[in-house]
Amino acid sequence: MASYKIRTPQISHETIDGETVIINLDNGNYYSIDGVGADIWNLIDSGANINQISELISENYNIDKDEVHESIEELTNELISEGLIVNSKNNEKFDKAAINLVSLENNKNPEYKKPSLEKYTDMQDLLLLDPIHEVDDESGWPTPKDSESD
């Protein structure tokens, strides 16, 4: 069963009030995804495989598993082509109890909306980070590495 992982550390992400903000530090693109999409993202982050994700989403949102499965595949394909996730061998054990899902935060039945990824590319200039240098632990100061390039 297909399984994915987030392409860290180049990809930074955080879920705040049910909305996940994802940043690609390689190119300065950033993304927003909420509701079902945020749940799927956080399930990928927890090491769940596609089958486990489909089951949980279908259960939490009370929706047909096949329909959910298709949406999840569409979304994961998009996440892969955007360079946000990569295929994984899924060595991690998935712990259902350890994850906070948007759909479980409220007691009411959450409304199912097809996940959609919003992409922002207008800030690339401003978002790029400084090149990282290696620190020499003995001296506490970094020294130039000639192989570095911008």
Partner: protein, 239 residues
């Protein structure tokens, strides 16, 4: 206004050893109409004494430690210049930065100019001399930029709740106000890279980054839902 007053704001915290070089790099700019504002963000070393010995053209303000955003805001509040520049106390301005950027900035209708950055690093671990690293790059940075004061009048101060990424937050707001940035390749800031400014807590940093971007996304949605192109227009409409 060929030689407008430039206010240079230096926030500093326990950098007594580097401060004099930073100030020297400003005095070497060959530009006389400037004020240097040093905001001491609660240093516990001998920063105050060092500043006293560095000359009378310096304005020294001491405040309780509140973080770099608050220190820069304190500087902005007292700045009298038409043009604003920032320099961190362990960084340096290359010669002619001011004249070069000022000329370009005044010749354009843009309100911000951002130049290139070069890192200064130790030659080797046993030699305390800093050398220029070969890599140059263009990045958002307060120190490599020069601002017309009009930009701050529109966008406001830096967000003091942010300990990290407060500069990005400000630039994003500036962008949303429709303020345009002139990017230039010429090196206008030399950043000293050392352990204290490198050992960033990545996870904590990313949390602030997500927060800053989410706030920007929320503002963009608000503008879109109200059919307004930028924040500036929104303010005009609400008058």
């Amino acid at each position: 206004m060929p030689f407008p007053l430039i206010s240079v704001i230096i926030p500093t915290y326990n950098r007594a050893n580097f401060l004099h070089e930073a100030i020297e790099s400003i005095n070497n700019q060959n530009y006389s109409n400037l004020e240097i504002i040093i905001v001491d963000d609660g240093s516990t070393d001998n920063t105050k004494k060092i500043v006293k010995n560095l000359g009378s053209n310096l304005k020294y303000i001491y405040q309780k430690n509140k973080g770099p955003a608050a220190a820069r805001n304190t500087g902005l509040k007292v700045a009298k210049g038409e043009i604003i520049g920032f320099l961190d106390s362990d960084d340096l301005w290359p010669v002619n930065k001011l004249n070069y950027q000022l000329k370009e900035l005044l010749n354009s209708d843009m309100e911000i100019i951002i130049g290139g950055v070069k890192h200064l690093m130790l030659k080797d671990s046993k030699n305390p001399k800093f050398v220029e690293h070969s890599v140059t790059y263009n990045r958002r940075s307060l120190g490599s930029a020069l601002f017309k004061i009009s930009a701050f009048k529109k966008v406001g101060f830096l967000d003091e709740n942010l300990i990290l990424w407060e500069d990005l937050d400000w630039f994003l707001r500036a962008h949303e106000f429709g303020i345009k940035i002139l990017w230039q390749k010429k090196i206008t800031l030399l950043i000293r890279v050392h352990r204290e400014n490198m050992s960033r807590d990545v996870n904590r940093g990313n949390k602030f980054l997500s927060k800053v971007l989410r706030n920007s996304i929320k503002r963009k949605r608000f503008l879109k839902n109200n059919g307004v192109k930028n924040l500036n227009l929104l303010y005009e409409l609400s008058d």
